[in-house]
């Protein structure tokens, strides 16, 4: 009985194929929109999370900002040392200063970015060395001409298969000895490629590339037994004190809490999901009303058929099941079409906006079940109307 009801439903849908497609368009688009948005949302989240993790494993990033008077007061090594020594719970405080330079080796050249860092900085940001060794204490102290290469720089100027460790290369007008190569990092925050860089001791970059003792920013890592807000408060207090800021004067520096950035991202994603849900529900509601409308038309068109079935001895619930099945099959097919459309659209759009395509089986299953459920919700009224027809009236219907 159920098999033939299903067959009958498919046959009716095929009989009015164009009408069926137009009717389910709302559901197709609704489902496709949900699948696409959620899949792209997953892709965006994945790519942003990757960027955030490339901000490093540190908890705080501190950098100076322009004041009302238009000046920037940079931090220096003394500030970093003070943070490291005077705030309870801080395990690492490490500065960074960067400059652009061209790397030369053996006739090859490559425009890149040099960063003055310490071993502590590399540790705080979880940047590890693939080959070679970190800076020695002596090299850090004296700011010697030694460097650690990012993978891209190595690949750009060294022959494939050869190890650059020990080689003497040139960065702009400065020559340095390669002591190691960093592990692959991928795309970093603020658009910088963390593989396309050369690390030197801080003092070296300050003296030979920048000509001063300034730092661009510094990172702070702390013992998780301490509250983030407490550390941040002491950090701000200490820096204000060191920069002699009057009470009431605004901070001329910024402290970014990476955990908070993560949370903010979560909130944005949540809001996006809610928006998708609203759009989807409206689209599905409209689609559902379309289904209901067309099912009512179908019941009217087939009044005589219903009369024949009732006269022959069909029970009310059998007639209801027939029309309900038709509505559910229609919606389920719409759901499948929507999923297929959403699948294609999300692959295409993911490529266009350059985020990974993250397939989420759950959203596909949920959309399908939801679409089929729409058939029950919006097919019920027309179906029960069909089942309540009076056989004599129905048979007389033209």
């Amino acid at each position: 009985m159920f098999g033939s009801t299903l067959l009958l439903a498919l046959r009716e849908i095929r009989r009015h194929i164009l009408r069926s497609i137009l009717t389910t368009l709302g559901i197709i688009i609704g489902v496709a929109a949900v699948v696409t948005m959620v899949t792209l949302g997953n892709g965006v989240t994945a790519s942003v999370q990757e960027e955030i993790s490339s901000l490093g494993a540190s908890n705080f990033i501190v950098f100076p900002v322009r004041t009302d008077r238009g000046t920037i007061r940079p931090f220096d090594e003394a500030d970093v040392r003070a943070v490291g020594q005077q705030i309870a719970g801080v395990t690492i405080a490490a500065g960074n200063v960067a400059a652009n330079a061209t790397a030369f080796y053996n006739g090859q050249d490559w425009d890149t970015r040099v960063q003055g860092v310490s071993n502590a900085f590399l540790e705080a940001q979880s940047i590890s060395i693939e080959e070679g060794r970190p800076f020695s204490a002596d090299e850090e102290q004296a700011g010697k001409n030694v460097c650690l290469l990012g993978l891209k720089v190595r690949d750009a100027i060294f022959l494939p298969g050869t190890s650059p460790v020990g080689a003497r290369m040139r960065l702009g007008g400065v020559s340095c000895t390669v002591i190691g190569v960093m592990e692959e990092r991928g795309q970093g925050g603020n658009g910088a490629d963390d593989d396309d860089t050369v690390y030197l001791p801080i003092k070296n970059v300050q003296r030979r590339f920048r000509g001063n003792d300034n730092l661009d920013f510094f990172v702070v890592k702390y013992d998780t037994a301490y509250a983030a807000s407490a550390i941040q408060d002491s950090l701000v207090d200490l820096l204000r004190e060191r920069r002699l800021l009057q009470d009431g004067a605004p901070n001329d520096f910024n402290v970014i809490d990476t955990a908070q950035v993560n949370q903010a991202l979560g909130a944005v994603t949540g809001a996006l999901t809610a928006m998708v849900a609203v759009i989807a529900s409206i689209s599905l509601l409209v689609g559902g009303i379309g289904i209901m409308n067309i099912m009512l038309v179908s019941v009217t068109e087939r009044t005589r058929e219903i009369g024949i079935r009732l006269a022959i001895g069909a029970l009310a619930r059998e007639v209801r099941l027939q029309f309900l099945t038709e509505a559910v099959v229609l919606c389920a097919l719409g759901g499948l079409a929507g999923i297929a459309l959403g699948f294609g659209a999300s692959i295409g759009l993911a490529a266009v906006i350059d985020v990974p395509f993250v397939f989420d089986p759950m959203i596909n299953i949920v959309s399908f079940v939801f679409a089929a459920g729409m058939g029950i919700v919006f097919g019920y009224y027309p179906a029960s109307r069909a089942s309540k027809l009076d056989p004599i009236d129905a048979l007389r219907h033209e």
């Binding site: 009989r15 024949i308 006269a311 001895g313 029970l315 009310a316």
Partner: protein, 240 residues
């Protein structure tokens, strides 16, 4: 005959509408129909023939009176119970054939079996047997639009027969057919009646009524006269 009659109508009334617009179509019908009878109901237009057929076919319920089918008081049954009676014991043939369009003759005949939960092979077998009874096996895969009126009505009869009902009800089965096709249908009904099916038929034509064993004449919502034809009398006195 010791068993109760197949059909018993006692004081059946039917009123359509209510209040000032109320119209009494049946004004107290008493009628008993025995198993194996072939009844033709005749009468002027509006005399209540179709209304009576609808009640007999359990498609409608009387406003008053008692309708017993195989001893069961039908007027007390609900919609679905009457549906069950129809699917088990009754077969319908309509003036307008009422076949499902774009559906083959075979599928049309199979339809009642679907609601009896029979499987595909059973359905096919029984439907082909019913089509064979009306001589339409070669037309099994044709749809109604490809069949003549007489053929369509024979498909409808096959559909009514396929469940092996006790009673075949036909409201003006030849109303849309020429006289030659009409005679074919009458001969078919007569043969089926000979095989044991009770046939109830409404007709306007005396020539068609002549094929029946009993003629019930209606006038103004009442039974005016019941006639037993010569052949019917002859058969009744035979060794039934």
């Amino acid at each position: 005959m010791t068993a109760e009659p197949l059909i018993q109508l006692e004081g059946i009334t039917k009123t359509f509408g209510n209040g000032a617009a109320a119209f009494q179509a049946l004004k107290g019908i008493d009628l008993t129909i025995e198993r194996g009878d072939f009844v033709a109901i005749m009468g002027p237009s509006g005399s209540g023939k179709s209304t009576t057929m609808n009640i007999l076919g359990c498609l409608d319920v009387p406003t008053g009176g008692v309708f017993r089918f195989r001893g069961v008081e039908v007027q007390k049954l609900d919609r679905d119970q009457r549906s069950l009676l129809r699917r088990r014991y009754l077969g319908f043939v309509f003036q307008g054939f009422n076949l499902l369009a774009r559906t083959t003759a075979l599928e049309n005949v199979e339809l009642p079996l679907l609601y009896r939960g029979e499987n595909k092979t059973q359905r096919r077998e029984s439907a082909l047997r019913a089509l064979d009874q009306v001589g339409l096996v070669p037309w099994a895969s044709h749809s109604p639009s490809e069949l003549s009126g007489g053929q369509q009505q024979r498909v409808a009869i096959a559909r009514a027969l396929v469940t092996q009902p006790d009673v075949l009800l036909a409201d003006e089965p030849t109303g849309n057919l020429d006289s030659e096709r009409s005679v074919e249908i009458m001969l078919l009904l007569q043969r089926l009646n000979g095989e044991g099916i009770t046939v109830l038929m409404v007709t306007h034509e005396e020539e068609m009524a002549a094929y029946a064993k009993t003629i019930v004449r209606f006038r103004d919502g009442q039974v005016e006269r019941i006639e037993h034809s010569a052949t019917a009398l002859a058969q009744a006195s035979g060794p039934a």
